[in-house]
């Protein structure tokens, strides 16, 4: 071990402990200047504040810094919290859980475990070959994107805690129930052949990594760099669409196509939502604008859930391990759960 003195520029720990409250204060001050800032920007432009264009621009100028600030905070906190979790630990917890509460546990761990959809195939194989039942694995895979912290946090910040809570409860329930239903269907025979025949011997256990608290803060910052650096463009597009809806779409039209009276609007929202590919950060500004214009809650929830939870690129990745038939059953079960949620809320409210 002669190499540990290599020149890695690392900030000393005290700088992190000092920087964290300072960054928090700056964030807080910026967050409470959002309305004055957006009103000031619009007042500098040669447009009437209450015209369609003025409304749309005000929405955009208010939402862009707000969503980026929220996103940074949520991704940082999530990055720090998730440093206590890993797919390997989750697998060890879930392995052999055939009891009924394996499903909610898997959904909960799906939210907390760090994984990117690009490695969902190795993760899937790792789970199934360790004896985790297929349905439990599905509950994990559905919950991860569906009730991700980014979506929930933005929903909380942009639409309010009531709807964020409803979303959390129902997203979690759908993941658990869909996993359970899929588990009851005995779908192992619809795995791709090579996955079924795969016999993984005992795998190497990774040496446990010891992270200090500052290491975890570093992980949070690394996540912010990576995720905010990747999704900001989706955020701008989403807010742009939200701004157009907010400024230009007449309420009467919105009520007709996404109102609670239109029974077909819930399935239509799912059909439109599934092939749409964006992430939570991009879709929630659209949700904010839709609800503001009087779209029914159930229809909007159904749209949002199907955009976030079911995505075409992920299906294509999963095609490596699942047959088309199994993918179709998976999509159908999750869609049914989303439809039920949509109708339930349109009916109740």
């Amino acid at each position: 071990m002669t190499t540990l003195d290599t020149p890695h520029s690392r900030r000393p720990d005290w700088l992190w402990y000092l920087g964290l409250p300072v960054a928090g204060l700056i964030w807080w001050l910026a967050y409470y200047q959002l309305i004055p800032f957006s009103e000031w920007v619009v007042s500098q432009l040669p447009v009437d504040r209450h015209s369609h264009t003025g409304e749309a621009i005000a929405f955009f100028v208010y939402d862009v810094p707000k969503v980026l600030l929220l996103l940074t905070l949520i991704v940082f906190i999530t990055g720090v919290l998730r440093s206590w979790f890993s797919p390997e630990k989750t697998r060890a917890i879930l392995a052999g859980r055939r009891q009924i509460w394996g499903y909610p546990l898997a959904a909960l761990l799906g939210v907390m475990t760090p994984f990117c959809s690009c490695s969902s195939v190795p993760l899937f194989i790792g789970f199934v070959s360790a004896g985790i039942p297929l349905g439990v694995t599905f509950a994990f895979l559905i919950a991860g994107p569906m009730v991700g912290p980014v979506g929930l946090g933005l929903l909380y910040g942009l639409v309010g805690w009531q709807i964020a809570t409803i979303y959390l409860v129902f997203g979690f329930t759908i993941a658990t129930l869909a996993g359970w239903v899929l588990g009851q269907m005995r779908l192992e025979r619809y795995l791709q052949d090579w996955v079924r025949d795969l016999n993984l011997g005992p795998v190497d256990d990774l040496p446990a990594e010891h992270l200090s608290f500052v290491d975890r803060l570093r992980e949070g910052v690394a996540q912010v760099r990576e995720i905010v650096g990747r999704v900001w463009i989706w955020v701008l597009v989403g807010i742009g669409i939200g701004a157009v809806i907010h400024g230009y779409v007449p309420e009467a039209l919105m009520l007709r196509i996404m109102g609670g009276e239109a029974w077909w609007s819930v399935p239509a929202a799912v059909v439109v939502g599934v092939p749409m590919y964006t992430n939570a950060a991009g879709v929630i500004p659209i949700v904010e604008a839709l609800l503001g214009k009087g779209a029914a809650l159930g229809t909007t929830l159904a749209f949002m859930m199907s955009v976030i939870a079911l995505s075409l690129p992920e299906m294509i990745i999963l095609k490596q391990v699942l047959t088309l038939r199994l993918i179709a059953i998976f999509v159908a079960v999750v869609s049914l759960g989303i439809l039920a949620t949509g109708y339930l809320f349109n009916f109740l409210l």
Binding site: T3, L4, T6, S86, C118, S119, P122, G126, L198, L200
Partner: protein
């Protein structure tokens, strides 16, 4: 000669990891062959569930996210 395998389906982080390994090897003056494993089946067979994963001479040392530079040096020179 050490054999290092980088497991990953070709994400940006996997390419960065590969570069980190090569740079570290040059800096430390250690002869290293770097092999990229991109096939999902082989990645899973190696026991890697979160990518990029890293093995040195057949022993898995890291999975998920970029490896820590100081630890990487230690693995290579161990």
């Amino acid at each position: 000669m050490k054999t290092v395998k980088v497991y990953g389906p070709g994400c940006a982080r996997c390419a960065t990891t590969e570069k980190m390994v090569k740079d570290a090897a040059v800096r430390l003056g250690i002869a290293v062959t770097v092999e990229k494993v991109t096939d999902a089946k082989s990645i899973a067979m190696a026991g890697v569930m979160s990518t990029p994963g890293l093995s040195v001479d057949g022993k898995l040392v890291h999975a998920g996210g970029l490896p820590d530079a100081a630890k990487l040096d230690a693995w290579l020179s161990a």
